[in-house]
Structure formats: structure tokens, C-alpha cells
């Protein structure tokens, strides 16, 4: 993979009237990589994607595609293809015509069109549906047509705006793999918007977490999981979400006391500023139940859910602590439990700014 930037966003800003939707976005996307934009609803993911496509004009900064500034380039000259959340298939055209629309616009020859359509239809398994209108297709098939319409153009960049959100869970998992495989196969550069962190984590090489128009953190999926830069990212990445408990660093700086009944104290792997207020982040899958009297959080199980493969344990009240256990445990509601965690798995955040304390 060559490390040549395909897309560069340089302090991109976007205002909708008085509303500041994108604030100083800086992202560099290498050629051939798969980038996911994640964040909660309304954080500006679609706005950013549409700005890339040229469907929205940005108010400040610069967008470059293969090194050229495209701020003033209309969408049709940007050589990007987009898969819409609604698919936006042309309802009056057959699948074949939907996919070949761009080729017909540039007056490609009949033979060229037929070959390209056959190719793409084979990749996507749409061969049997070429003469159907979109309203005679299932959701998954429509999704494929929308992808086909993008693939056939062989563009510099693929943009996806939550393409899987209208599909059922099983199909979503399947298409997730398929889109990624397709990306690798055609060696494209893709930007993928989703509000589903699992999609982002599983599909992307590089994840950009947005919150209220600001890039909270970007990096490789696992680095976001292992070393979240902020409390927001820590809570957003990972499922079930990280538990947060208020706390205060002990006098020695080597332990943290939690704001929980009984004021349990957990050892830390590093020395922190003594008597500092912190927010403590504990991932559910890093907690385990200990019977041997090691220092931990003494609490009671308020509810137990088992899916067969894992067990979800909900402990205490205020705040509730979720634990994921991969072993089947004979714990039932109301049992006392002692929760422990490896010291190096404890995340600490500044309660004011939310920044991670390292």
C-alpha cells in the first residue's frame, strides 16, 4: 500500500447560518485505506461526507483530493461516488440502467456498458435482477445496486453514508464483510459514515470519532479501544460501554478510591498526582469476579443475563457496574461479588475536561 494521501481535510469548517457544524477538521486519508467516521447522531458525520462529495460547500479550510484543492469543484467533477443511506436509486430505471447511468451520461458505447454492467453484476450477484425496477427488490438487493452504481464508475473515492442502517442485523453483519472485501478487491479509498462503533471497529483501518463537529480522536481501531484520548471516546468505543465511576487518587498516588458504598480502593499501575479527583473507567470485559479476598469492589449482583456464550452481570446501584464474563458463573441475583481488575486496565479521566490521564 502506497502512503500517498488521497484525501486531505485541512481545518475544514462548516457553518449552517449561525450553527457551527464542523469545527477545524483535520484528517488525512491515505490511498487505498478504509476510513470510518463515527459519532452520535447530529455530530456532523453526514455533513463532513457531503462536503467531501461537494453536495455541501464548506465555509473554511480546504479539501484536497489527490493533492488538488476541490473546494470550488462541483460534485460531478470530483470523481467521487457515494452510496446514500436511502440508496437514492432512480425508481424509473431498471437495475441495469441505474448502474449504467453514469456511463450513459458520458456516452459510453453499448458494448462497453454491457461489459461493465455484466462485470459489476457478477461481483455483486445481481445478474438475475438486471431488468427489474428498484421497487421490485429487497432492501439488501437495493443496497447492492447502490454499490454497483458506485463501483461501475471506478472513482477515486467511495463515500458511504450509513449504507447498512436499513438492513436487518444478520444482513448487516454479512454486508459489513462484503463491503470490506469489495474495498480490498478494487483497491479503492473509502470513507464510511456510521453511528455503529462495531461497524467502524470491524471494517476500518482508521477511525475518526466526531462529537459536536469536533474530531475527538482518530487512529487505528484498537488504539482507540486501548488508549482512548477522552472519556467520550472511551464510552463510545466498546460494547457494552465502559463503566464510569467517580473517584479520588489516594495519598500515595498508587491507588484510587471509588465513590461507591464501602469506598473500595483499587491499585494503580502508575503514580498519579495524590488526592486528585478523577473519573475511573472500567471496561466490562476487563472486570472479573474474585473469591480470594484480593482488593476489589465489594457489591451485589442485581441482575444476571446469560446469552450462553457470555454472562452479563449488573452490579450495585448508583452507578450500576456492568461486567462481562466469558465463563459461566453460578451467580444469581442478590449474591455478593468482589469485582477486580488488572491495574494496567484502569482508565483515568479528568472530570472537568474529560481528557485521559496517563
Amino acid at each position: 500500500m502506497t502512503i500517498q494521501p488521497q484525501i486531505e481535510l485541512l481545518s475544514v469548517n462548516k457553518h449552517y447560518g449561525g450553527f457551527h457544524a464542523l469545527k477545524d477538521i483535520n484528517v488525512t486519508i491515505p490511498k487505498g485505506s478504509f476510513v470510518a467516521l463515527v459519532g452520535p447522531s447530529g455530530c456532523g458525520k453526514s455533513t463532513l461526507l457531503r462536503s467531501l462529495a461537494g453536495l455541501e460547500s464548506i465555509s473554511g479550510g480546504e479539501i484536497r483530493i489527490t493533492g488538488k484543492a476541490v473546494n470550488d469543484t462541483p460534485p460531478r467533477h470530483r470523481d467521487v461516488a457515494m452510496v446514500f443511506q436511502s440508496y437514492a436509486l432512480y425508481p424509473h430505471m431498471s437495475v441495469r440502467d441505474n448502474m449504467s447511468y453514469s456511463m450513459r451520461l458520458r456516452k459510453a458505447s453499448r458494448a462497453e456498458i454491457d461489459a461493465a454492467v455484466a462485470d459489476v453484476a457478477a461481483i455483486l450477484g445481481l445478474g438475475d435482477y438486471l431488468d427489474r425496477k428498484p421497487n421490485a427488490l429487497s432492501g439488501g438487493q437495493r443496497q447492492r445496486v447502490a454499490m454497483g452504481r458506485a463501483i461501475i464508475r471506478n472513482p477515486k473515492v467511495f463515500l458511504f453514508d450509513e449504507p447498512l442502517s436499513n438492513l436487518d442485523a444478520a444482513l448487516r453483519v454479512h454486508m459489513r464483510k462484503e463491503i470490506r472485501a469489495l474495498h480490498d478487491r478494487i483497491g479503492a479509498t473509502s470513507v464510511y459514515v456510521t453511528h455503529d462503533q462495531i461497524e467502524a471497529m470491524t471494517m476500518a483501518d482508521h477511525v475518526v470519532v466526531l462529537k459536536s463537529g469536533v474530531v475527538e480522536q482518530q487512529g487505528a481501531p484498537l488504539s482507540l479501544y486501548d488508549t482512548p484520548a477522552t472519556k467520550f471516546v472511551a464510552g463510545f468505543i466498546g460494547s457494552p460501554a465502559m463503566n464510569f465511576v467517580g473517584g479520588i487518587v489516594g495519598d500515595t498516588g498508587r491507588a484510587v478510591t471509588l465513590d461507591l458504598p464501602g469506598a473500595p480502593s483499587l491499585p494503580l499501575a502508575r503514580t498519579m498526582e495524590p488526592r486528585r479527583q478523577v473519573d475511573v473507567g472500567l471496561r466490562p470485559e476487563h472486570l472479573s469476579i474474585e473469591t480470594g479476598g484480593a482488593p476489589g469492589i465489594e457489591t451485589t449482583a442485581t441482575s444476571v443475563e446469560s446469552t450462553g456464550s457470555v454472562t452479563y452481570l449488573y452490579c450495585g446501584g448508583d452507578p450500576e457496574i456492568v461486567v462481562v464474563l466469558s465463563e459461566r458463573e453460578r451467580i444469581s441475583q442478590g449474591d455478593p461479588v468482589n469485582l477486580t481488575i488488572a491495574p494496567d486496565k484502569i482508565h483515568l479521566f479528568d472530570p472537568e475536561t474529560g481528557a485521559a490521564l496517563r
Binding site: 462541483p74 460534485p75 460531478r76 461516488a81 446514500f84 437514492a88 425508481p91 451520461l105 421497487n135 452504481r149
Partner: protein, 312 residues
Amino acid sequence: MRSRRLLNGYPKMKRLLSSVTDGKGFDILLVSLPLLFLLAFSGLPLLYNVLMSFQEVDIFSLGRLIRPFIGLDNYRELFAAPEFWPIMWNTMLFVVCSIAGQFTLGLALALFFDTGFRGSSFLRGLFLVSWVMPGLVVGAIWNWILSGDFGVLNYLLTSSGLISENIFWRSDVDYSLWAVVLANIWLGTSFNMILLSVGLAGIPKDLYEASELDGANILQRFSTITLPMMRSTIGAVISLGLIFTLQQFDLFAAITSGGPANSSNVAQYWAWELSFRQYDFAKGATVSTLMIITVMIAAVLYVRSTRHEVRI
């Protein structure tokens, strides 16, 4: 509870009541009332009209239903009348030019207002004024506008240098039909615009975005997205336009009275003239029957075009 016990003794009442509450059969009841109304006040006169076109009718036999049957004589005489073909030609010109004008202006305005600039919906609403005005009033207004001596239109045309001499729109055989066409275009444009606006608003915006990304310029977007997506609306607008235009009577009565020398006479006005000016009711009915056939063809086209709506 009590009412149910009361009704137990009256199975018919119960069935009727349950047909209302369940909706079973109630729909038929609802439809049958307007249908009966239509039959009584539109269907029967229509049939009576067709019947009359095959009979010999004079002022004395007018009140009777059974009259001498003369087969196609009325039609034969009508086709042989010297004014028949000129009037049919006028009707065709009137219909085609009115619809073309109304549709083109209506579509242009609909596209203009669809850009959604500030105040566009208010302005669009104002355009409806022309549509809610009665044809006779519109006719009176256009009489002033078109007036040969002091009309605004002549003033505009002379002062912009397009003509050097006043045109007597209503009394010049070369212009009288166009005077009515002009007024009718004005009258029908807003109706076209509103229907076309609704059609335009029904096209999802992301289709335009997708086609723009696919490389379509504005003309290509219009021809590959807007027009095909509007097909059923356009079909409906044109068929309704045909029906309304063939019904347009008030403007002729108000502006030219079909004259001079039948130069602006059209079938619908001629039918009225034959029946109520010349008291040749059979001929009037014959012209009407010819128009019924034309309108029915338009109605079939209209129904077909709405049935072929693109589902999204």
C-alpha cells in the same frame, strides 16, 4: 349494553349498524351516493344529449322524449355545414395552443418556485388568484387589456416598437382566436403550475444529488430525472388541461362571442349557439356528442397516466 339488547330483536338494523361500525359494505354505501348523484345529473343528460343527436328536434317537440328518429342525418348535415371544418380547426388550435402555453409557463413557474427562494411559497399562492376567478370576470379583464383603442397590450406592443399600429384583437379575424387563447393561457397557467409543483416536490432530493455525483449536468438532470419522474403528473396535467380547455365557454362569451365571422368560434361555443341562438337543438346536441367522445378519450388517457405512477 342496553342498545345491543334492544337491537337483538332487529337483525336488519343490527346488520346495518354493524356495516357502519365495521366498515363492511359501508364503503359501497358511501360510493353509491355520489354515483347516484352523478348518474342523475350527469349521466342521464349525457345520454339524453346523445339520443337527441339522432332525432329530429324542433321547438314543439322539445318537451318530448320520443321524437322522429333520423339516424345520422344530423351528423351528415353538420359535417356538410361550411363552418364545420373551420370551427373544428379553431377548436384544435385553441386546445393545442392553450395547453402548450399553459403547460410551458406552468412548468417554468413550477421549476422557478421549486428553487425555494425566500417567499417562494407565498408568491406561488398568489398565482392561484387567476385560477379562482370566474371565467367571465377573467374575460372582462382581458377585454380591457385587449381593447383596440385603449388596451394595455397594444400600449405595451407599440411603445416597445413591436407593432406600429393598434391591433384590434377582438374584432380582427386574424387575431380574435388568439385573444381568447391568450386569456385562457393566463387562466390555466396557475393550475398547471400547482399540479406540476406538487409533482416536483414529490421527487426525492437525493436523486438529484446521486445523479449530480454520477456526472449529470443541470440539463441532463432535468431530462433524466425530472421529466421521467414527472411522467404521470404531466400526463394528468395535460389530460385535465384538455378537458378544461374543451369546456372553456365563458371566455368566448365574454371576449369575442365566437366572432367575427366565426373566426374565433370553437365547438363548445358553437354547440351553445346552435341550441340557444338558432334553436337547432339537435345540431347542438350533435356537436356536444362529438365533444363527449373527445373528452372521453382524454379521460381514459388521464386515468391511464395516473395508474402508471412511479412508485418510490
